[in-house]
C-alpha cells in the first residue's frame, strides 16, 4: 500500500502496521496516508508499532491526532509494540493534549478595526507628543542646571562626527546644486539676454534657502539616524540604565552633548555648503555661460548683502536642534526589540526632515513679513 503503513482488516479489528520513518520531514505524507484510512464497520483500531524504524515527536503527534479522530467516531484505538521511548513520547503528547488551546501564530488573519485603530493612533500620538515636549524640556533643563564636565568633550566629539565628517558629502551636493541652479536660471534668463542675473538667482537661493536646507537634510539622514540607533541600542543593552545607576543623568551625558554638538556643527557646515554652492554656480558661469569669475564676483557684491547670508545661517541652529532632539528622543523611546529600533530610527529621520521643512516655511514667511 504505502511505504509508511499496511492495513489489515479482519472481523471488527482494523490493524494498521506502521513501518519506515515516522519523523518530522515526512509529517505531511504521514497525515495524508493516515487520513486515507477509514474504518468501514470495524469497532476497534490497533496501531502496530513494532516495525517502526524511527519515530520522533512529530510522527507520534500525527499518530495520536488520528487516533483521537477515531475515538470521536466511537472507535476504540490502542497501540501495540511500542518501544519504551516511543511510548513515552505518546504519553507526553496525551498529557499535553489536555491543555491545548488557541495561540495566534504566523499568518493569523486579524480582524480589521480601521476607524477604531485610527482614532486610537491619533490619541496615542498626541499623548506621545505632549510627553516628548516635557521630556525635551526636562533634558535641556538638566543640562543647563548642572552642566557636567563629560558634556564638553562629548559635544566636541559630536561636532567632529556630525560636522567635520560630513563636509565632503555636503560640499559635493551643494556644488552640484549650484550647477543645477545656474543651468536652470540661465535657460530662463537667456530669453531676455540677462544671463548675468543668474548670479543673483544662484546666490540668493543658495544663501537664503538651499545651502542650509541641503546641509540640514543631509545631517538628518546621517546624524539623526545615528543618534536614534546609538541611543536605541544603548537602551536595549541596558547601558542607559547603567548610566543612571552610576548617578549620571542620561539626558546630560547622551542628549545634551548631541544637541549642543549639532547646533555648533550645522551652522559651520552651512558655511561650507554656501561656499560650495556659489562655486558650482561660478564654475558653470565660467565654463558654459560666458560669465568670467571676475564678472561673477562683481555681480555677487551687488546681488547680495550680509543679511542674505545671515538669513540662512540663522536657520541652522534651529534645524540642528530639531534634528538632534528628534533623533535622541526616538532613540530613548526604543524598548524591547531590535525591530522597534529600526522603526524608531526610520521615524526619527522622516520626522526630522519633515520638521526641517515646516520650520523653513515658517522662517520664510516671518522673514519676508519683517523684510529681513
Amino acid at each position: 500500500m504505502s511505504t509508511y503503513l499496511t492495513v489489515d482488516r479482519q472481523d471488527g479489528l482494523l490493524q494498521i502496521k506502521l513501518q519506515d520513518d515516522w519523523v518530522f520531514p515526512n509529517v505531511q505524507r504521514l497525515q495524508q496516508t493516515l487520513d486515507e484510512i477509514m474504518p468501514a464497520s470495524e469497532q476497534r483500531v490497533s496501531f502496530q508499532c513494532g516495525g517502526l524504524r524511527d519515530l520522533d515527536l512529530a510522527g507520534a503527534w500525527v499518530l495520536y491526532e488520528r487516533s483521537m479522530d477515531f475515538e470521536e467516531l466511537g472507535i476504540k484505538t490502542d497501540f501495540e509494540g511500542f518501544r519504551s521511548s516511543h511510548l513515552k513520547f505518546l504519553q507526553h503528547i496525551i498529557d499535553l493534549a489536555a491543555r491545548k488551546e488557541y495561540v495566534p501564530g504566523f499568518f493569523d488573519p486579524q480582524p480589521s478595526h480601521f476607524l477604531r485603530d485610527g482614532i486610537g493612533k491619533i490619541g496615542a500620538n498626541t499623548i506621545e507628543a505632549v510627553d516628548s515636549v516635557g521630556y525635551i524640556a526636562r533634558a535641556v533643563l538638566d543640562g543647563i542646571k548642572r552642566p557636567s564636565r563629560l558634556m564638553i568633550g562629548e559635544a566636541i566629539r559630536q561636532v567632529h562626527s556630525c560636522g567635520v565628517a560630513a563636509i565632503p558629502i555636503v560640499t559635493v551636493i551643494c556644488f552640484l546644486m549650484g550647477v543645477v541652479l545656474a543651468y536652470q536660471s540661465a535657460r530662463q534668463l537667456e530669453q531676455f539676454g540677462a544671463n548675468i542675473f543668474m548670479v543673483d538667482l544662484v546666490a540668493n537661493a543658495i544663501f537664503r534657502e538651499l545651502g542650509v536646507l541641503l546641509a540640514a537634510i543631509m545631517v538628518a539622514g546621517r546624524s539623526g539616524s545615528a543618534f536614534a540607533a546609538a541611543l536605541g541600542t544603548m537602551k536595549l543593552t541596558e547601558e542607559v540604565d547603567a548610566l543612571r545607576v552610576m548617578g549620571l543623568n542620561p539626558n546630560q551625558v547622551l542628549i545634551i552633548p548631541r544637541i549642543i554638538g549639532l547646533m555648533i556643527a550645522l551652522p559651520l557646515l552651512t558655511v561650507f555648503a554656501d561656499a560650495a554652492g556659489l562655486l558650482g554656480g561660478a564654475f558653470i558661469g565660467a565654463t558654459v555661460l560666458d560669465i568670467s569669475g571676475f564678472a561673477f564676483s562683481e555681480r555677487l557684491a551687488v546681488a547680495i548683502n550680509v543679511n542674505d547670508l545671515l538669513v540662512g545661517l540663522s536657520k541652522a541652529p534651529v534645524f540642528a536642534f530639531l534634528i538632534a532632539v528628534t533623533g535622541t528622543l526616538r532613540g530613548m523611546q526604543v524598548k524591547g526589540s531590535a525591530e522597534e529600533l529600526g522603526r524608531l530610527t526610520t521615524i526619527a529621520v522622516v520626522q526630522s526632515i519633515f520638521l526641517i521643512i515646516v520650520a523653513d516655511a515658517i522662517f520664510t514667511v516671518i522673514y519676508s513679513r519683517i523684510g529681513f
Binding site: W61, L87, G105, E340
Partner: protein, 267 residues
C-alpha cells in the same frame, strides 16, 4: 544514513589562531551517539570558538570538522535540520512572539499547513515546560529562565539529532538551573539526542554529563568525570579541586544512582 559515519561529530586537526595567539592547535574530538558531552575550560581557551567552528560560524585556520558525516564549511549550509542550538542569551528573534519563534524553523524547512505547524510548535513549547500564556509573549517579556526554555523549544523544533547548548544555566538562579538540568536530562532520555554543552556550572557537569571535554594547552582532553578528576594536568586538578566542584561531585554521587536508572515506561 546511520552507517556512513562513526561519530556524530568528528574533529580532526583543528587549528584556530587570532593573530599570534593560538587558541586550538591540532585539536581532535569525537562525539559519540546519544551522549551528553560537557565542554569546560578557562576563559580564552576557545570554548565558544570551538562551538562556532562546529556550527560553521567561524572559519578555522586548519582542520576538518564533520557533523553527522557531513563536512562543515565556513558560512555554508550545514545539517540545519538535524541540529539545534541554544545560544547563551537565547537569541530569540525579538520581534516575534515565542510561538512565532518556535514556528519559524518549521515554516522555513517544511511546507506544512498553518494548523499543523502551529500545533507542532505548541507541542515543543509544552515539552520545555512553558505554557500558552508564555507562548503568546515576546522574548523581552519573559524571565531569563523562560527565555532559555523558549530558545530550547526553538532548537528542538525540527526534531534535531544534535543539540548544542552554550552555557545553558549561566545567569539562572540555582533552582531554575537545577530545573533546566533536569529538563535536559529528561529530553535526552526521551528523544534520540546527542547533546554538546559548554558549561561552567559544575553541578550541571556532575549531574548531567556522560563525558567531559576539557580545553587545556590548546588541545582537548576528553574522558568520563571519574577519570578526569584524577588527571595530572594542573588546570584540571585546580578546576576539580575547587571546593565548589568537590561539593558538586559529592552531591552528584548521592543523586546519580536514582537519575541513572532507566526511565519508567509507564503503565
Amino acid at each position: 544514513m546511520a552507517g556512513e559515519y562513526e561519530h556524530i561529530i568528528s574533529i580532526r586537526g583543528l587549528v584556530n589562531r587570532f593573530g599570534n595567539q593560538v587558541v586550538h592547535d591540532q585539536l581532535n574530538l569525537d562525539v559519540r551517539r546519544d551522549e551528553i558531552l560537557g565542554v569546560v575550560g578557562g576563559s580564552g581557551t576557545g570554548k565558544s570558538v570551538l562551538l562556532r567552528s562546529i556550527l560553521g560560524l567561524h572559519g578555522p585556520n586548519a582542520g576538518r570538522i564533520e557533523v553527522l558525516g557531513q563536512a562543515i564549511r565556513y558560512l555554508e549550509p550545514g545539517p540545519h535540520r538535524q541540529w539545534g542550538v541554544l545560544f547563551q542569551g537565547g537569541a530569540l528573534l525579538s520581534g516575534l512572539t515565542v510561538q512565532e519563534n518556535v514556528e519559524l524553523p518549521i515554516a522555513l524547512h517544511s511546507d506544512l499547513p498553518v494548523e499543523t505547524r502551529r500545533e507542532l510548535a505548541v507541542l515543543k513549547i509544552f515539552m520545555v515546560g512553558l505554557d500558552l500564556a508564555a507562548a503568546a509573549k515576546y522574548p523581552n517579556e519573559l524571565s531569563g529562565g523562560m527565555r532559555k526554555r523558549a530558545s530550547l523549544a526553538r532548537a528542538l523544533a525540527l526534531e534535531p539529532r544534535i543539540l548544542f547548548l552554550d552555557e545553558p544555566t549561566a545567569g539562572l538562579d540555582p533552582i531554575s538551573a537545577t530545573e533546566f538540568d533536569e529538563l535536559v536530562s529528561y529530553l535526552h532520555a526521551n528523544l534520540d539526542l546527542t547533546i554538546v554543552m559548554i558549561t561552567h556550572d559544575v553541578d550541571t557537569l556532575f549531574s548531567v554529563c556522560d563525558r567531559v571535554a576539557v580545553l587545556v594547552n590548546k588541545g582537548i582532553i576528553v574522558d568520563t568525570l571519574d577519570k578526569l578528576v584524577k588527571h595530572p594536568d594542573p588546570w584540571i586538578q585546580q578546576y576539580f579541586g575547587d571546593p565548589r566542584a568537590v561539593r558538586a561531585r559529592q552531591a552528584a554521587r548521592h543523586m546519580r544512582p536514582e537519575s541513572a536508572q532507566p526511565i519508567e515506561t509507564g503503565d
